[in-house]
């Protein structure tokens, strides 16, 4: 029954994603994501996001390509402050001691917007449209089971139309 399709059936399993640490600097995170994402014959393969772990190996967030864009934004603010009055930096807790932007600053926390394994595809669709996101964590209780992407949802809907 396609209308009863749950996100569990279309999600990408959690172990298929690359993993980064929340204290990693941007360059390190990009390196890890890049390894999972490679070019062949002019097209790209791989997933456009990474899971973020804290020091105790707990899952704390998702780093998407949009998150990496945020690094540019933070860098721009930082450069601006350094060029003008450096005392402004004391008010920005975003930056660590050596002023490097780390994954924690740009990731999306894992528990913010999620669906559960039994949710329908349409439930996922609603959340994606409502919160303007393309990647939705799928939770099995408190454990992350996988992630569902806009493209997975789009595909199911296209099939339902036939």
């Amino acid at each position: 029954m396609p209308y009863r399709q749950t996100v569990e059936n279309i999600m990408v399993p959690v172990h298929d994603f690359p993993v980064v640490e929340e204290d990693d600097v941007v360059a390190e995170a990009v390196r890890v994501m890049r390894q999972f994402f490679h070019q062949r014959d002019g097209t790209w393969y791989g997933f456009q996001a990474a899971l973020v772990l804290d020091r105790r190996e707990h899952l704390v967030g998702v780093l998407t390509l949009r998150g990496l864009l945020r690094a540019f934004q933070l860098q721009a603010i930082q450069d601006h402050l350094l060029k003008s009055d450096a005392t402004g930096l004391f008010f920005l807790r975003k930056f660590n001691d050596n002023l490097e932007i780390v994954v924690r600053d740009i990731m999306r926390p894992i528990n913010l917007i999620t669906v559960s394994v039994g949710s329908s595809v349409f439930e996922a669709l609603r959340k994606m449209v409502k919160y303007k996101i393309n990647l939705l964590p799928v939770m099995d209780g408190s454990r992350l089971a996988g992630m569902v992407r806009t493209i997975d949802v789009f595909w199911v809907i296209g099939e339902l139309l036939d």
């Binding site: 791989g46 390509l65 864009l69 721009a76 393309n134 493209i151 296209g158």
Partner: protein, 153 residues
């Protein structure tokens, strides 16, 4: 950026159903990873480029908002209504759900930083690239990612 010629195009008069099929034909899957473009270009009457139709634009369409607010429709049957709507809605054309070309653009001479900031600010993942008043390509979040190493090390 991606050259404009490599995109699939569709008429602004096309229906939502045709648009979804066109977008699906532009994508292929290999295993669980997808490739191909996630948007199609919309052509106007004289074959000029008038907009971009994205996957999000399509999903947002078909009266999603009204469905959400209609208390008569129970959560379980919501999906059924949504799909039926997409199939039967013949009045809604691509023109109504596309993103007009001129809305957000960047100049061919813009820096990567400029592009990143516009992508963030406008909450989009692709931007038309303009050169002397003409669209020459599309730049995406993905393209920024591919050169990001040059800025953070």
């Amino acid at each position: 950026m991606v050259p404009i010629e490599s995109y699939v195009t569709i008429s602004e008069e096309a229906t939502l159903y045709e648009a979804i099929k066109a977008l699906q034909s532009a994508m292929h899957s290999e295993g669980r990873a997808w490739h191909g473009h996630r948007s199609v270009l919309v052509l106007g009457e004289d074959n000029s480029l008038v907009g971009i139709l994205t996957m999000r634009g399509l999903l947002r369409a078909a009266g999603l908002k009204e469905l959400e607010e209609d208390p008569q429709i129970k959560a379980e049957s919501w999906g059924w209504y949504y799909v039926n709507r997409l199939r039967e809605e013949t009045k809604v054309r691509v023109r109504d759900v596309m993103r007009p070309l001129e809305l957000y653009t960047v100049d061919a001479g813009a820096t990567v930083l400029d592009v990143a900031l516009v992508l963030l600010k406008q909450q989009v993942n692709s931007l038309p690239v303009m050169h002397e008043g003409k669209v020459i390509g599309i730049v995406r979040t993905l393209d920024v990612f591919m050169v990001i190493d040059d800025y953070f090390y």
